[in-house]
Symmetry: D2
Subunit: 355 residues, 4 copies
């Protein structure tokens, strides 16, 4: 059934396959009067774009955004915003050798069983290519949240394999292809990626996303909790297998006296909660962490079956990241921005001040 | 805004405060003809009920379900099912001493800032008491999924503090108050809980939920993914701070060749994915893990502020679990059941076979 | 599937069959701090209640509302409001003679084909009894809209058979059992109803609903138009077969120069549009008219079939209005109030002023 | 807020302004495997296209559809379908003289008050141009409903001014520019339109839409009724001021013995209900009638105000239909198709047979 939309008051609906002519989305619910330029979109799209470094997939897409509606003379009109991006570089022939095989770790098998289709051109809607439109929609949310509320949403690479990165400098994050905030680790990351490329293998990663200056009161106490909606939007990113808010799984071995964030007249003395109490934002930084599985498309030979259930060997050449996590930061920022934007709009009519 | 519903085709909407007269819910979308008795509800409600052991909160509620509509002569009619449960035991006086304080780790502060209300009777909608209705709704989903598809959804205590439990026997799970599947650990759990009670402190926990025999093809590839919807419904449970599907955060240090589940003519040779590929169920067991923070209501003295921002000391007496995780298993089973039920109904019209 | 909710930000979900123990609803999305008493509900419920005059069905229900949640110390808390009403007077035996027949004009046949159930106790969810909860939910919307915006939503009987009523006095409307604003017609209405009772027949009616002081800007230009949402909520009332906004079907024979509402510096010089232009409220009175079919349950003998398809004669005794329209005014007011309330909450975050 | 989507399981979301570069839509929820070609879209788009006759607006648009996703090798894939159409002919200069005036009967004023924008290029989202995408989406629903269920959805001109047309021949409908089924009236229609063009005035119209072979059981008894959803989708069409199901407003003066459709062993002996009982389809033809107001854009001079509230005279030249109703048939067919398609998908999981 219909399943390509996210958000209630700020709703993003996307379309487009990895190897179709275009990708697109409709962003519905942006208030009027927000100044937004193609450049605001491009800046974010360029951050996620493959081929921007020798570490990420060599597929080159200009990802040039086309604005079709909802923005007039540089400002949002309040109506639905239509965006498209061309697929300029589709080497589907890369896929010819495997188009009848189910790639292990991919959606090929489930997609085929669900829809009765094995798209020979690639992953169809399951391809990471689809995230282009999430980033485009996120650009509007980011701009709105920052312009109107000063909310700043940023992410960085927290871990890859057994290499962990400390948040030493936000500036550093944009300076290297890993979104790594810890300059000391850049070299180790280079070596790890080189090694994996040689092995024809891949590795998982952990990403941390932080939203600063989020107002108190976003989220509803039961089902439409801010943390639950963030879990939904972050888990909806390809390859994500885990989501944490605040201390996340570390709480399993914490004591109540240690975890509960105490308060004094200046506010909270700690932020184990990750900025959310009872599903509602508490004014502290919103902190989420996600785990991304290793790229499934690898050279290393694996076992699988074909459309007829016959056992086969598979080795995926194509152009693929040795670590999908290396491109996930802008996508995760976008998803968090979309969800917080949606809750900001919901909140307006609901916070006690308004009655 | 409206935020007390979950699900699209199978939708559950709840109401009721921890210390109001009744809790209730409307379960909308159950197909007609499902045999369901009060006993089916009671069985599940009794599993979550506090006061069933000396290890969980001593608040005693009979939690007797009343069916008001949607079930006639022991069968669902296809229309909305109305259920209520009385709050029979409300010692709000337990709260008198703290009703002007914001309890650390609780929603008191965010709730107050959002709604302008500090419910002197307890946590209002943020109380774990609200989960009674989740379990009641889950009972219908569980019964339907098992009767019609043979889907079995069960959970157990995986870890509490640094004590981990192996899945040795499903039978054992129902025999002890910890939902622990590992008889060897029962004694250690007893000792840990006793120690915490003496200290007036609490501890976190990890719960694992498994759904067996889920058909292939549930979930949509982009936003309405089965994993994303599970993340939403599980993260919406009070005190949950993390959700994993399959290997979860362990993937960060896995290689692609290790993580991707290979296939042979008998099917998948492994289940690192936790039964979901590209957001769509693959026929393997659906496996989710959640982390629950330690109970915030503890005797141990903590620092907080009152409604006027004055710094205060707080010690919460009341009757509280030393570990909320000990009651979470039936709730997590219910939430997974509700989400899979919703997707089963969505799927019917969508699987390629039906066209 | 789930189909018992209406509204997005202000959402009402109902349950309960005509002859079950209770009817109930959950009202989700009411802002906190609204003063509302049981009396506010009762006032509206009493207006719709059958048995309040010798002209309407003799089934006597006290329709006493019970507030289960969401209202504390006379004020809304901002969380979901749970309400129930007992079915105190269920003479289902009245139905025994026809419980195997499909009553012409009723939902018995479609209900049976859809759900496989022929509720021997009456119409189940299709009974007008279900509207009790619409009126209860409408009472909150009405109170909120009037208290906070001065919006006044009222209706009256416009026509019944060939007797038309002029809007001579709003006060008169509440003084007679017909909600007739035209004292001159009361006697004719009495005679018509008496005549119909003697014939064992019934008649249709036309109701007009007017909302005053609705702010400019409610509604979206394309699908979520205010007029479209009003059409949905009004057409969802039992027995309604037609909905008009402003001049409605009269426009078919109007010229553009005649219909278009011109403007001068004081505003619109006319209101053919019924207060809505391009789906958006224009500040004039919102005017809607609905047509209600004649009661289908009549003594007069008719032809039908039974559950086995055998042809039968049917005469419905029970206690039924000779004109369902006579009870529709409070219900229609409630539905318009619910829809405008929903749009007021949607609008808050969207009007140009807020950016 | 987000308001550009319609439907739940079959959801259509549109974007695009009358004078922007392109219009587009995303159609989400189409089952996989439906054969659909550009020609299927074009056939419907050509039926609504302006400039196809000397009686309708002279604005010439090729309205050539571009399929961007969701259809592969002539079949739907089951994922979201992206479509766009170029705006090839935008004489916005036609609007220059009135771009600071609020056109009476138009959304200019409400749009301006809501969004703070007066689009100098025309009606923005409020333009009838937006309906192109409704017709494109409707083409998929029509094809699906006919191919899979034999459901045939057709409409015709019932009345314009005081000229009424009898349904004499469905073939005739496609042969004249009025969608008139009554060849005897063609000449009168020609004369009426000529007369109006000379007067610089316009006229309203009434359209009838009929769906044949709709299965029994579509719709839910309370809020998501089939008639209520049809009222919503039909009232959402520009210029529609009234919606009737079956006998509609004629029921006001009907008796119960006359209106209720009796049954015999062959089925219903009549169809006053218009194929819907208690909100659920009964297997008879679904019949809806809509009233469209006269075109607001007319040469005839009228009074209005400008952006600064100063009183002005206005005469609209541009290229406009003397009767918007003349183009409404394909649009109304599309909206009914979209709504029935949505309910067919909802129904699949709900009809008693499937349990």
């Amino acid at each position: 059934m219909a399943g390509n939309s996210i958000g209630k008051l700020f709703r993003v609906t996307t379309f487009g396959e990895s190897h179709g002519p275009k990708l697109g989305c409709i962003i519905d619910g942006t208030p009027p009067g927000l100044e937004i330029s193609e450049n605001d979109f491009q800046k974010e799209l360029d951050r996620r774009r493959p081929g921007t470094s020798k570490y990420t997939t060599q597929r080159r897409e200009l990802d040039k955004i086309t604005i079709l509606s909802g923005i007039f003379q540089g400002k949002t009109t309040g109506t639905s915003i239509g965006l498209t991006v061309k697929n300029t570089d589709q080497r589907s022939q890369d896929y010819n050798n495997i188009q009848k095989l189910f790639r292990p770790g991919h959606a090929d098998f489930t997609y085929y069983k669900k829809y009765g289709i094995r798209d020979p051109r690639g992953g169809g809607r399951s391809s990471a290519r689809e995230t282009v439109m999430r980033v485009a929609a996120g650009a509007i949310a980011k701009k709105y949240l920052y312009t109107k509320y000063g909310i700043l949403i940023r992410g960085y690479l927290k871990q890859i394999g057994n290499i962990t990165c400390k948040l030493k400098s936000w500036n550093e994050v944009e300076k290297n292809p890993f979104f790594c905030p810890d300059v000391k680790q850049i070299n180790n990351l280079n070596l790890l990626i080189k090694k994996l490329k040689k092995e024809g293998d891949s590795i998982g990663a952990k990403i941390k996303i932080i939203a600063e200056k989020v107002p108190i009161g976003l989220g509803e106490p039961v089902f439409d909790r801010l943390d639950a909606d963030l879990a939904h939007s972050l888990m909806s990113i390809n390859a994500v297998k885990g989501v944490e808010i605040g201390d996340g799984f570390a709480v399993v071995n914490q004591k109540g006296s240690e975890h509960r964030d105490e308060m004094n007249k200046h506010g909270f003395t700690n932020n184990h909660a990750g900025g959310i109490l009872g599903g509602i934002s508490n004014g502290e930084n919103i902190i989420a962490t996600i785990a991304l599985k290793p790229t499934s498309s690898i050279k290393k030979i694996g076992k699988t079956i074909d459309l007829h259930g016959r056992e086969q060997k598979i080795s995926i050449l194509g152009r693929h990241d040795p670590c999908v996590g290396l491109r996930a930061v802008p996508i995760a920022e976008a998803m968090m921005s979309i969800t917080i934007m949606d809750h900001i709009l919901r909140h307006r009519g609901q916070c006690s001040k308004t009655y």
